[in-house]
Amino acid sequence: MYTILEKENLAPRVFRYIIQAPDIAKKARPGQFVIIRLDETGERFPITISDMDSNSGTLTVYVQAIGKSSLEMSELHDGDSILDVVGPLGNASEIAKFGTVVLVGGGFGIAAIHPIARALTEAGNHTLSILGARTAELVLLEDAMRKVSSEVCIVTNDGSSGSEGLVTDVLLQKIKEGIPIDRVIAIGPLVMMKSVADLTRSYNIKTTVSLNPIMIDGTGMCGACRVTVGNQMKFACVDGPEFDGHEVDFESLFNRLNSYVSEEYEARQRYIQDTQDKEPCRLEASSQTVSSS
């Protein structure tokens, strides 16, 4: 059992959890993830470790409530516990002195970028973080990112914060300004990572992306997380989750991520139905109280 010490609703459907998991906290490094199973009938789902504190023995994760499992998790509160937390899984990000590094974080991908930005800045890099979201309230961790980056640019689709447009607009502008970029790290929705990789390919800037295929065990046993990288089959849970963005076959990953859409939809609808029968709109209600405070 793993206790949730603190839960906070940061934006509509976005939650931060601080979870007690001392052994994992001691070992976890930026870029790694955990697999969570909420209860006996739950599924195993991967979540990025956004922060770790070996002194307090805690992990911080950000979860977007989109489907059955993440909605169910959004119903948990301070002091509740999670049945299984496995990790740290996957390889840690490569942390070295590259020179100038651009970190592109989209949506809750910003939560994954945060510890990487901190480690790269500490390693002596000049770090430029480009944070993108649909709208201002979905720009997560802005203050925290300012603390750990040399520079921060915000971009929203509707222009409600920072510049209006896409992260790739800002990235292209920076490339055109002529600053020497030694590496790009992009984490966020798959379409975003693909467009970043497509852009940097033409400028020959090495680009790392973090892939999020469907996973079950997370130990290399099931092969559900297989992705094609450089024409070879890789298992994202043990060979990744970070890969060279220029080598990734994004198309087949898009396709595989859609394989359970109808079952996921069914599970989500049933879940919403069940919880609404008990107590109307609990999720919406809780998100309002916390975000207005």
Binding site: I216, T219, G220, V238, S259
Partner: protein
């Protein structure tokens, strides 16, 4: 000497094929006490029992069968447990026809003793009738042993070491101990309560089981020994890395490794979706590539899912060469699985990202190869398509690299199997580290993994008791 040769081998009752193909309950219903005694009476109690030579852990077969014949079932269980601590499991899944029963002298002229079925009967009888385990009280040795992986190798080593008085902690990567016994072999062949009972027994012996611990990621071998104070470590992490075919179309939806398919269904209960959250897509025609136990388990599991209309097994050699157990092949045939022998896929073709067709070649058998089986060769211009909306690839598995990656001083062979420095005690090149089961041998059998766990337990005991570890 009894002269029971004329009594035919007793067949335990089974669920009817047309019934069982729709449920996950065990196929074989097992012996009644009377049936077991009748079958046991066929044993001629050989002075030099050949059957024992075939058993990798040398179960005292004539002695236990004699006790069965006398109706002393609990004593029979004790007798088996002297050499085999998991008889309820081996009685069900050992390839007996290639092991103990193959050598039984009664089998020369008639049918061999049903040693496996008797073993299962005795174990089940004990599980249902024994009130409380007689736990041997041993003097604590003060030595701590870490076991990595809760498959048959790890569980056996843990049990033996706990009985010797050591403090044993098992670290298991999944949320459920049991290894392949849990996530791989389906319940209609090995009911999960049989496995749970064995795990409970270990807990009663004082073994601590820590689930959700992926060693190599959360702790290295050195950390276990230097920081956590373990005096020795046993690695029994199995061969769980699935092989794929490396042909076009393997990323289509509807293409599964056997491990993924079986894990979804067995470990994550996808067959009970939506009560359980993990789904399995509702497929209609499911093909399985392969001919071993894994292929047949996947095929028979697929058949039992509610939306399945047809299951086809594609195997590149003929029925005679199939490595799966005879009994399983027969059960699969009775259940209506369509076997396409001498068939090898070369491309998966799809529509809208989902599998729709499997392009195959017909094969012919040529000269015997290294495995002594006749090598399949492609017949020119024999391409044809099999219609299927899912395919399960069951081609065996390789070794998971996580542990070796975290311990450079642990020697492995070119395929990643851990190498032993002394095969008599299963010790590795790294001091204090022992290993056994599929991680050493490659995919093998439950009983050989248990045998390795046993040998390693003995080796570990001697190692920790002699030095200042």
């Amino acid at each position: 000497m009894k002269s029971g040769k004329k009594i035919p081998r007793t067949q335990p009752p089974e669920q009817k094929p047309e019934v069982r193909r729709h449920n996950f309950q065990e196929v074989s219903l097992g012996y009644t006490p009377a049936m077991a005694q009748l079958e046991a009476s066929r044993c001629i109690q050989c002075k030099k029992p050949k059957c024992m030579i075939g058993c990798p852990v040398r179960v005292h077969i004539p002695e236990f069968i004699d006790l069965v014949a006398q109706g002393k079932f609990l004593e029979a269980a004790e007798k088996i447990k002297e050499s085999n601590s998991l008889p309820g499991i081996t009685g069900r899944v050992c390839p007996q026809e290639d092991q103990c029963e193959k050598h039984c002298v009664v089998g020369i002229k008639g049918e061999p003793l049903a040693i496996g079925k008797l073993e299962r009967f005795v174990a089940d009888f004990e599980r249902l009738h024994k009130s409380g385990d007689s736990l041997i009280q041993t003097q604590p040795t003060g030595k701590r042993i870490a076991i990595i992986g809760a498959g048959p190798a790890g569980l056996t080593a843990a049990g033996d070491l706990a009985k010797m008085g050591h403090e044993v902690v098992i670290f298991e990567a999944l949320h459920q101990p049991g290894g392949v016994l849990f996530y791989g072999i389906p319940q209609f062949r090995l009911p999960k309560d049989v496995v749970e009972a064995e795990i409970d027994y270990l807990r009663k012996l004082g073994v601590e089981i820590k689930v959700n611990y992926v060693i190599g990621q959360i702790k290295s071998l050195d950390e276990l020994m230097k920081e956590e104070g373990f005096h020795a470590v046993f690695i029994g992490t199995g061969a769980g890395l699935p092989h794929f075919l490396d042909i076009p179309g393997e990323n289509l939806n509807g293409v599964y490794s056997a491990n993924e398919f079986l894990t979804r269904v067995n470990l994550m209960h996808a067959w009970e979706f939506p009560r359980f959250d993990t789904p399995i897509h509702p497929h209609k025609v499911i093909a399985v590539v392969g001919g071993g136990n894994t292929a047949l388990d996947a095929a028979r599991t697929a058949l039992r899912l509610p939306t399945t209309e047809k299951v086809i097994v594609l195997y590149r050699r003929s029925r005679e060469e199939m490595p799966a157990r005879q009994e399983e092949i027969q059960h699969a045939e009775e259940e209506g699985i369509d076997f396409q022998f001498l068939t090898a896929p070369f491309e998966f073709r799809g529509k809208n990202g989902w599998l729709s067709q499997i392009a195959c070649y017909r094969m012919a058998l040529g000269k015997p190869d290294a495995s002594d089986r006749r090598r399949p060769e492609r017949i020119p211009d024999s391409e044809f398509e099999v219609k299927a909306d899912a395919v399960i690839i069951a081609l065996g598995s390789g070794v998971n690299p996580l542990i070796a990656k975290s311990a450079e001083d642990l020697q492995t062979d070119s395929k990643g199997h851990i190498e032993l420095a002394d095969e008599d005690i299963n010790v590795t090149s790294k001091p204090g580290v022992f290993a056994g089961g599929d991680i050493v041998t490659g995919a093998a059998t439950v009983i050989s993994a248990m045998g390795a766990g046993k040998k390693a337990a003995q080796g570990i005991h001697e190692y920790v008791m002699k030095g200042n570890h």
